[in-house]
């Protein structure tokens, strides 16, 4: 066994835990919960060792018993992330599920799902990649139906099943095309060939299917619906799903980034769908009164943004987004029981100061000034237009923070603090982005120089995100106008995509007892 196969120990440990768990499937299954947590810690240890191997030996592919694993900055990042989140959710599960009749089985499926994700992110061959991708979704489905008698769970599972199988089929098609195009199943070799410009027709088609699989996997419009309905299972599953599984779509685009950049047309589609989903999901999220549902819509939006980044060929930033979002969302789900206190806390300090149009304008100007200042600090030169545009989009978000402090009714102290927070946030993400780009340089392809299509999309993205950001900042001034009431209803229902999907799949039909 060579050093590049070391990461394989991570899924192996969790599979061992899963076996032990399935041997004690019932309630209070003895040492199983602690064993599962222990193997997750071991998996994290394996990820750390893999990092050391990477630092000393460089990237490479190892094969053990026909299972090829790829060790490079992308896979090591994901291994660290997934095993860490895995530890947190398995530790949580040990306490949370205590006393549940099928605690052992639950722990087993959790461990198995984690093992599949860990294998997926380190896959070195197309066969391993596709198998692990499908296995993840199959195991996860068992967790989503942990309470099989819940009709809402069945309804969501039905939608998920259709979406997932379409995703599987797309990925299989992509794998077959890649294999035909490059004559090898070794992912490292495929990427190397693509990097030097080998672009057989099959590869271009493969890029299309990869994109389709990614859109389906990462709950992009209009197939996002299932994700907003799978809170029908204990909270750790949601944490694992939103932090470890849902970003598989983005990961596969990043993994095959060298292939993806060969197909600018496909990337353009990703920009459009990802961008739309990001805005759509973000707006729907605003209307959701239940905390987990709101978090699920937030994930839809965040995945959209990540797909947008992939479409702009900003792969290191997309990877950063996956890591950052996973950590945030895992915590948000696991801590969602704090929502009662959270809502109560927002009411205590009195009414929110509503910014006027002028304040919003000042906020945007100030945000752009911060952007320019921080940008020059980190250096604009060498940045692609795509990256600069993305920075602008993010700075629109910061403007919202500023606008709250610029509201006429806001006291000076609040203005100062929001300004300070805005600068801190701007510095933080520029630093993180610079870091991500540096870490992935050489591993992920550079962002290509934009052509006319790319320029058009960049402008479109900046304008639409800007418009929503302005609308958002001026929110209280228009959102309660009767004219907006209908819009709110349609958005709160996610533009009825789930209703239509349910109708087609017969989701509300009852199984007749007679």
């Amino acid at each position: 066994m060579d050093v590049f196969s070391i990461p394989l120990l991570a899924p192996a440990a969790l599979i061992a835990a899963a076996i032990a768990a399935f041997m004690n499937p019932g309630g209070r299954p003895g040492l199983v919960p602690r064993l599962a947590e222990g193997t997750a810690i071991a998996a994290f240890g394996v990820a750390v060792v893999s990092l050391l191997v990477l630092l000393t030996q460089g990237a490479g592919t190892g094969v053990v018993a026909g299972v090829a694993t790829r060790l490079d900055p992308v896979s090591v990042t994901m291994l660290l992330l997934v095993s860490f989140v895995g530890w947190v959710v398995l530790r949580y599960t040990a306490t949370y599920l205590d006393g549940e009749a099928r605690q052992g089985a639950f722990t087993g499926w959790m461990a198995l799902t984690l093992a599949a994700v860990l294998l997926f992110v380190q896959a070195g061959s197309l066969a391993v990649f596709v198998s692990a991708f499908i296995a993840t979704s199959v195991f996860l489905a068992r967790l989503l139906l942990f309470y099989p008698e819940r009709v809402q769970a069945q309804r969501a599972a039905r939608k998920k099943f259709v979406t997932a199988r379409l995703g599987d089929a797309s990925l299989i098609a992509a794998a077959v095309l890649l294999y035909t195009g490059y004559g090898t199943g070794d992912i490292g070799e495929i990427l190397a060939a693509a990097r030097v410009g080998v672009a057989p027709d099959a590869a271009l088609w493969a890029a299309g299917f990869l994109a389709l699989a990614a859109l389906l996997k990462s709950a992009q419009f209009p197939t996002h619906g299932w994700l907003t309905e799978v809170m029908e299972t204990p909270t750790p599953v949601s944490a694992l799903l939103h932090a470890g599984v849902i970003n598989a779509g983005g990961f596969l685009l990043i993994r095959f980034a060298d292939v993806m950049v060969l197909a600018p047309g496909v990337l353009a589609v990703l920009v459009m769908i990802g961008g739309f989903t990001a805005l759509f999901g973000g707006l729907v999220m605003l209307t959701q009164p239940a905390v987990k549902t709101s978090l699920a819509w937030s994930t839809v939006a965040q995945m959209g943004f990540m797909i947008l980044q992939c479409g702009l060929a900003l792969f290191p930033l997309a990877l950063l987004h996956i890591v950052a979002h996973s950590l945030y969302k895992a915590h948000a789900f696991l801590a969602s029981g704090m929502a009662v206190e959270g809502v109560a806390a927002t009411r205590r300090p009195g009414p929110v100061a509503v910014p006027s149009g002028g304040a919003v304008l000042r906020a945007f100007v100030a945000a752009l000034v911060i952007y320019a200042a921080v940008g020059f600090g980190f250096g604009f030169d060498g940045k692609s237009p795509q990256a600069i545009a993305l920075g602008a989009i993010l700075i629109f978000g910061v403007a919202y923070l500023l606008a709250q402090g610029f509201a006429d009714a806001a006291p000076t102290v609040l203005t100062q603090r929001t300004a300070l927070m805005s600068v801190a946030a701007s510095v933080a993400y520029f630093a993180l982005q610079t870091g991500a780009e540096a870490l992935m340089a050489g591993t992920l392809p550079a962002t290509p120089v934009p052509g006319p299509l790319e320029w058009a999309l960049i402008v479109l993205a900046v304008i639409s995100f800007g418009a929503v950001a302005v609308a958002q900042a001026m929110f209280p001034l228009w959102a309660y106008h009767p004219a907006a009431a209908g819009l709110r209803v349609h958005l709160a229902n996610g533009l009825y995509m789930n209703a239509v999907f349910d109708r087609i799949l017969g989701g509300w039909h009852i199984r007749r007892i007679d």
Partner: protein, 806 residues
């Protein structure tokens, strides 16, 4: 759409009276930020358990007792004796009761028929077409109600200015979902509906062909199909009525649900009319408990009588000799059953310690504004209106208050930045990695749990001296604490120390409106330490020694630690004693934790209890009031030195000092009623968790900052989560209606019942059992209803010792 139904016409007054009665048939549910236990049978206290069973079976298919096996296993184990059965049978007021104990046993051995609700129009439509209309209606109503009742989760709030019915119509006329699923013209149906809810109700009732006798249970049923949403509306009505007003919101909810029934009826009329005619006739038929229900009620009564024998036996054991010396520490705790464990532990630590029990709001029903907060917190029993107002701190903290508000507002702005549409992306990219640290912190429970602190509260507006003296005298007399003051008198409120738990307030003090009790305790301590007040009460015959110091405290029921609010007082000459007190409290905490650890899953010993408070994944941080079964109002000597297993509310009461029985009246009409709400909430959450329980904590999804739904959405769930009454292997709560034991003359109690119909109904229909203790503190008399009493036989007969969990 065709209209082939004959329209009946009902007088508007009749319909609205039925709607109003239906609104009162469902229990209110308080928002989770400050939730209190509610008797789920609040609307049925005028009926017996069996009658209620008949009603709730018809409207919701609910059982009101445990399954037969539960009683049978107790019979087999000898915990319920034949004598219990005989007595329970004799006490039954129902004509349909079995003729003899052997008939009763025979009937009990037969499985009872599962209760079935009458179908709604939605259910009949569903049976006809195979589409889950009841589910869809619940889904649509919930989707709207969750937004309408939201108190701040969504940044884009739903409009609510015009009231429930009008706002729902505005939503329903835009919502395309019903039509996507095949309810033709629903939006138009809503658009054309009457503008006022009353008219919509009357129109629907008439189009559905309902006669007036059918309205009560049909309306009740429709409100039940809206679960916690209707109950939350009922809460708004409760609050409005308490303040002397009213609120049409429950009726409006009924109108909304009726419009759905009407629309479905119009669409499926031909297919379901025949069946509907029978159903509405069944609604019009009078309610009568079936033999099954009567047997269930008798079995339940027998189980309670068995428990009452155990309580009586405990009270019959020889009490320890009362201390004669002046106590160094008197500690007053809330009547909450958790206090019993701690009080017993504390008394065992040092002979110079005496404890008292009193409702945890300490007689000060305050509307309180906390530090740096605009929110008015009603820290008082929910049956009452606030009597005083208070705020945290005085002018000296103004600057700190302002700074704290700036911090809170900046934090809030940051929170909005996190959740808003475009900025959430910037937030994640900038701050996401920080959450790695937070995950580690929370996974390992590294964050310290803080008990409430902050500046001492003060009454605002301040009371005049005579008002303060009056308040102090009332409270002291109500506590039966008018002489024998210790050197330190601890006033301990209680609160729970839990994290990431939507039901946190359910672990707090019910008498303080679901908040922790430190504010009320601190207010009272300040009042009683005031030299002017002491002079005033001395003039009224209550002599508080100059060296008595009142100290406010908070009993953390999750960790059994007690925090003293030392900053409020000038310890002076009490410094040394205060040090002793802290030592005693720490020792008592260890004893109490060791006892509680026996009941808690995954707690091998005393040392493992405290960590539960900080574990974000813990669904059973403590058992709260699970197991409660008795309420005892008597001097502490009647219960001291004996274990009541953390299952009894203990209220200090000395009737000899209660001239005119004013205090007795207060006890029977306030703490007893609150205790009945708690006991019956546990009862309902155990016997009918599907409707009166809060559901599975593993699936909870906090909605609107006020409640929880299970999973994706749907009906809000009121009541206790299953994990709060079940330990994963068995019930942690025995569903027994509370036995109230009061040491007072029977005539005085009868007299009070005569004057309070609502309280009397609780006892007459046996939602509570009432006993009079005799001169020796023994259970001597049982209240049998209609102001009658009977002697209790065999007082000293020892029963089997009962473990805390059944």
């Amino acid at each position: 759409m065709t209209h082939i139904t004959e329209n009946t016409s009902l007088p508007a007054g009749t319909v609205m009276a039925a709607a109003g009665a239906a609104a009162r048939a469902i229990p209110p549910v308080w928002p989770l930020a400050s939730s209190v236990a509610v008797n789920p049978f609040l609307g049925q206290t005028g009926e017996t358990l069996a009658e209620t069973g008949a009603r709730l079976a018809r409207v919701a298919g609910l059982p009101v007792t445990m399954p037969r096996e539960w009683y049978l296993s107790r019979l087999e184990a000898g915990r319920i004796t034949d004598a219990d059965l005989e007595a329970a049978l004799a006490a039954s007021c129902h004509a349909a009761r079995p003729a003899s104990v052997s008939d009763l046993k025979e009937a009990a051995a037969r499985p009872r028929r599962r209760p079935h609700a009458l179908p709604t129009v939605a259910e009949m439509a569903s049976d006809h077409c195979g589409l889950d209309w009841p589910g869809l209606v619940a889904d649509r109503v919930s989707q709207w109600a969750a937004s309408f009742f939201d108190t701040g989760q969504a940044l884009w709030k739903a409009p609510k200015r015009r009231g429930a019915y009008a706002e729902w119509r505005a939503v329903a006329t835009h919502d395309l979902t019903p039509e996507i699923h095949g309810l033709e013209g629903f939006a138009a149906h809503v658009a054309e509906a009457p503008e006022h809810a009353e008219d919509a109700i009357a129109r629907a009732a008439s189009r559905l062909g309902l006669v007036d006798a059918a309205l009560p249970t049909y309306f009740h049923q429709l409100l039940m199909t809206m679960g916690g949403w209707a109950q939350y509306a009922r809460y708004q009505l409760w609050q409005a009525e308490l303040g002397g007003g009213t609120d049409p919101v429950v009726t409006e909810m009924l109108a909304i649900r009726l419009l759905w029934e009407e629309a479905l009826f119009i669409q499926y009329e031909e297919a379901i009319l025949h069946r509907w005619e029978r159903v509405r006739a069944s609604h019009a038929a009078p309610l009568a408990p079936s033999e099954d229900l009567v047997v269930d009620e008798i079995l339940q009564e027998a189980a309670e009588r068995a428990a009452q024998r155990e309580i009586a036996a405990t009270l019959a054991t020889q009490p320890p000799a009362p201390a004669t010396e002046r106590p160094s520490l008197q500690a007053a705790f809330c009547i909450d059953v958790r206090s019993e464990v701690f009080r017993r532990a504390l008394e065992s630590v040092d002979p110079g310690i005496e404890t008292l029990g009193f409702a945890g709001f300490f007689g000060l029903a305050t509307k309180h504004r906390g530090f740096a907060s605009d929110v008015e917190e009603l820290r008082l029993p929910v049956l009452l209106n606030p009597g005083v107002c208070s705020v945290a701190g005085g002018p000296e903290i103004e600057e700190a208050d302002r700074q704290a508000r700036f911090t809170a507002r900046a934090k809030r702005a940051w929170g909005r930045f996190k959740f808003a549409a475009v900025s959430s992306f910037a937030f994640v990219e900038a701050m996401g990695p920080v959450y790695a640290g937070r995950l580690v912190r929370d996974a390992l429970g590294l964050e310290e749990g803080k008990l409430p602190d902050g500046p001492a509260p003060r009454l605002d507006p301040a009371l005049s001296l005579s008002e303060r003296v009056g308040a102090a005298e009332t409270v002291l007399r109500a506590m039966s604490l008018t002489e024998g003051f210790g050197r330190i008198v601890l006033l301990a409120g209680h609160g729970a120390n839990v994290t990431n738990n939507p039901h946190a307030s359910a672990y707090h003090c019910g008498a303080c409106g679901g908040y922790s009790g430190e504010v009320n305790a601190r207010l009272l301590a300040a009042l009683l330490n005031d030299p002017e007040v002491r002079q005033g009460v001395a003039a009224k015959g209550i002599e508080i020694p100059g060296d008595t110091l009142f100290v406010a405290a908070l009993h953390d029921t999750t960790t059994d630690t007690v925090k003293l609010y030392e900053a409020d007082i000038d310890a002076g000459q009490h410094k040394a004693l205060l040090g002793d007190v802290k030592g005693w409290l720490a020792k008592a905490g260890r004893v109490a934790r060791a006892e509680r650890a026996l009941r808690l899953p995954r707690a091998a010993g005393e040392a493992e209890v405290a960590a539960r408070a900080r574990d974000w994944a813990e669904v059973r941080p403590e058992w709260a009031l699970a197991g409660c079964r008795a309420f005892i109002a008597a001097p502490r000597t009647r219960t001291g030195g004996r274990s009541l297993e953390g299952r009894a509310f203990l209220h200090n009461y000395d009737w000899r000092a209660d001239e005119g029985f004013g205090v007795l009246e207060l006890i029977m009409t306030a703490p007893v009623v609150v205790a009945s709400w708690i006991s019956l909430q546990y009862y309902g959450s155990t016997v009918a968790p599907q409707a009166f329980g809060g559901g599975n904590k593993l699936l909870h999804n906090v909605t609107g900052g006020i409640g929880v739904v299970e999973g994706n959405g749907g009906l809000m769930r009121a009541g206790l989560p299953w994990q709060a009454v079940h330990d994963g292997e068995g019930l942690a709560h025995e569903p027994l209606r509370l036995s109230v034991c009061i040491e007072a003359p029977r005539e005085a109690m009868s007299d009070i019942l005569k004057r309070h119909d609502g309280v009397r109904a609780l006892f007459d229909n046996r939602w509570l059992h009432l006993f009079a203790l005799d001169e020796a503190g023994q259970v001597a008399w049982r209240y049998t209803g209609d102001l009658e009493w009977e002697a209790v036989e065999g007082v000293a007969r020892p029963g089997p010792v009962l473990k805390a969990v059944g």
